[in-house]
Amino acid sequence: MTLNATKGQKLLRFLANNTVPILFLIICAFGIPLSGYSANYLVSEIIIRLVRNSFLIVSLLIPILAGMGLNFGMTLGAMAGQIGLIFISDWGIVGIPGMVLAMIISTPISMFLGWLCGKILNMAKGREMVTSYIIGFFMNGIYQLVVLYGMGAVIPIRSKSLVLPRGYGIRNTVNLIGIRKSLDNLLMIRILGIPIPVATFILIALLCLFVLWFKKTKLGQDMRAVGQDMEVARAAGIPVEHTRILSIVISTVLAGYGMIIYLQNIGTLNTYNSHMQIGMFSVAALLVGGATVAKANIRNVFLGVILFHLMFIVSPMAGKNLIGQAQLGEYFRVFVSYGVITISLVLYEMRKKREQAEAGLSLAAAQEVEA
């Protein structure tokens, strides 16, 4: 009887811990037949999305390790990556050299923005996510000021195809034809007709290995300690504030690189929007993969990309086939992106409270036994 109850409890716990991925599995299970897409098409699309988004989402893992929650401030890194891309487009640097140069340009900008973000987040302990979200909006204003008014006026931009007709400011879209798929096409193989960009997967695998290695380093262990309990970490001699700033800096720099990889796959930079969308979609994908505000791993990244983007792929066509309007699917996916973040945050809080209550009950029971 006790064993059955334990099994039931385990099942309930499993369901509670994986509510979001299960929800998405159900959505996809309904959406795939409705969309009418072939398995081959879906697999090739998923591979494209994995290549495009994984690097960005992996960049979110380190701040979670340091207990700073989901780094909505990754948009800062994305902005830095975009600035790097604008410069290489202006200078006409193409291919892999162009991508690497864009990454080099983005690095100091990302580091500075990450440091700034980390400093502010240290002043807002316990409210890191909402603070980083707002920092993203604030920095977007600065980005717009620089790109829309500074570039071409103060910062020299030679290319007329980049500058707005008024003579300053960058156009709404920047054509990245020079670096388009340069990494993806570096080592492309086909399996059953499905293109697999091996070079990009190798880069993502290297980043995953870096994250796994990093967790075992002194700094990684310090971050874990800070994430578990800041006061205990401080008492153990860990420079808590510095460690937290470092986690955000690393995340921001990686987000910058991720944005460059993302945009080389797409081939077009939406100057004023790309970075804003990417923060929300990356966070949502990680949460869909079963991550929480306090715990995330590489498995969550890949599961999240697969489930979240599978929903992205099938929902417009499912919406069109179901109601006759593809636009419904577009609304659906934006709605789901915000919705999944909300559900995850609510579930996380509920779980935290439940665990606290359970811990209280078991402590009370233990005290009763002792008495």
Binding site: I88, W91, G92, I93, V94, G95, I96, P97, G98, V100, L101, I104, I105, Q144, L148, S159, K160, S161, L164, P165, G169, R171, N172, G178, Y272, N273, M276, Q277, Q327, E330, Y331, V334
Partner: protein, 158 residues
Amino acid sequence: MKMGRTLLIRLSAVLVILILSVVLFFIGKSHTVLVDNKTVTVEGREIAPLKLVEVSVSKQGALELTPRDRDKFEVTGQKHRVTVTYTDDAWNERTITRSFTVPLMQDMVMVLVPALVAHPEGDQALWLENYEAPTYAVTMSESDEVVTDDMAGLITGI
């Protein structure tokens, strides 16, 4: 002492990255090489275009040009080789290969094929000239709106 060593390592790393950036800039810089088969005037002498000529630049596929034709090659880096294959008046096939250097910040250069054929050993300046694309070719319409709202795409679709 340790502080000084750390600083030295950091400065060295920055220096290596700066050198790498410069190298990337040089090897990744793209240029457009136009190949032009039109009547040209060199040193006061008018040179007629070739009836049919095959031109290739830096191991890229050859292009065939007839009189008044102009085509282009996209290349990266500064140093390149142009190969021109044509049939002379005695029906002998001739091939001219010349190396040339594109100025670093020059986006477009134009190889004047008739001038190159007339002066195969001549100075690069005789058959290669810098080219600036006309303004209308690189700018888009005046009504290029800046959209800064990420929901704008959805709202206009209603």
